[in-house]
């Protein structure tokens, strides 16, 4: 039970990659990519969690109160930005694929070969 969040992160990771591998549509693929990325948020935040700890914000609580790790939260913030940017870029490419190659199916858009 005390490993549940980490197992959850691994689960999302594998499920997300499964979604990418079997995807037949770039939009679905992008969503699965973001899904896979969410596993890293869960992993990082769970690692830094401290039992009975508060958020690392000491506005209305005295300094020195038990708090969770702030560093993993900062890392996760960066991670989220990365996720949005990659999603926007791949979607832009997918929109162009639809416009110029008339498909958003990875199996059909395959001019590049061996």
């Amino acid at each position: 039970m005390s490993y549940l969040p980490f197992v959850l992160a691994a689960w999302i990771f594998v499920v997300g990659i499964f979604g990418i591998v079997r995807s037949r549509h770039y939009i679905h693929l992008v969503v699965c990519l973001s899904l896979t990325q969410s596993s890293t948020y869960v992993l990082l935040l769970s690692i830094g969690y401290v039992k009975h700890g508060g958020a690392p914000i000491f506005k209305d609580v005295p300094q020195g109160t038990r708090a969770v790790d702030p560093v993993v939260q900062a890392l996760t913030l960066t991670d989220i930005v990365v996720s949005v940017t990659v999603a926007a870029l791949v979607l832009a490419l997918a929109i162009q694929a639809k416009k110029h190659a008339k498909t958003m199916n990875p199996d059909e858009l395959r001019p590049v070969r061996g």
Binding site: S2, I47, I57, F58, D69, Q73, L77, L89, L91
Partner: protein
């Protein structure tokens, strides 16, 4: 490779990967038992040293402020990349179509709602280093305020509100300001991104030294970045509306 072969390969690989991940998880500290030094030291030191009640903001903009500079530029680069990828070839550059709004009431509602969103965004940016929030979160909300104008009104006033050169200017200024603040410290003989201003008292908006500067720089960058991003994607939508109206 056939689909079946691909899924078989993936099935075997995923079993291996899952086994590896589970194996490593047994070596993690139990959930809630984390005792790493880094975060603990910062939780203790940041409110005192940096006069910042939100330690995450202190990590984001000061202790690991250099990461955030990279992050700003990731967003910046992605938006420039999207602008390049979604560019229209010159010859079919169509005039921006009118996408008339259905009612004046809706428009008025949208505009006032945009105002409220704007205020919310500014508030979240401003208090980012005191309470949860900050340049990124507030910036996205500010961009949403501009977006609301477009959804409630039409694409054209949105375009008028956000002429690309001005937004580019904001985008470049926001991202550039982050580097310039870093370089200023270098000029006065400190390390890159070293604090420049007096720390003030934690919990006040004037606290945190350079953190508010970097916070506002990134808010400007993020707002402009998302406005540009929405702009690029919405012009895709506008082109579609245009092409459905005038069949080729």
């Amino acid at each position: 490779m056939s689909r079946r072969a691909r899924l078989t390969l993936f099935g075997l690989a995923a079993a291996g990967l899952a086994a590896l991940l589970l194996w490593s998880i047994t070596g993690l500290p139990k959930f809630g038992d984390y005792h790493g030094a880094y975060g603990k030291i910062l939780n203790k030191a940041a409110p005192k040293e940096r006069q910042t009640s939100n330690v995450v903001a202190a990590v984001v903009f000061d202790y690991r402020g250099f990461d955030t500079m990279g992050e700003e530029f990731i967003l910046f680069g992605a938006v420039m990349g999207v602008a390049m990828l979604l560019r229209e070839p010159r010859e079919d550059e169509a005039p921006v179509p009118e996408d008339p709004v259905r009612s004046d009431a809706l428009r008025a509602f949208g505009i006032s709602f945009a105002g409220a969103t704007l205020v919310l965004g500014l508030w979240i940016v401003a208090h980012g280093y005191v309470t949860p929030g900050g340049g990124f979160q507030g910036g996205v909300i500010l961009a949403a305020a501009f977006l609301l104008v477009s959804l409630a009104g039409s694409y054209r006033p949105y375009r008028r509100l956000t002429p690309v050169p001005i937004v580019d200017f904001a985008e470049g200024t926001g991202a550039g300001a982050y580097v310039v603040i870093g370089l200023c410290a270098l000029l006065i003989g400190d390390a890159f991104l070293h604090n420049l201003l007096p720390y003030g008292v934690a919990g006040k908006l004037s606290s945190g030294g350079s953190i508010p500067l970097l916070n506002w720089a990134s808010a400007l960058e993020v707002t402009a970045a998302f406005v540009l991003l929405f702009n690029e994607f919405l012009s895709e939508r506008a082109i579609m509306i245009d092409s459905t109206r005038r069949p080729p």
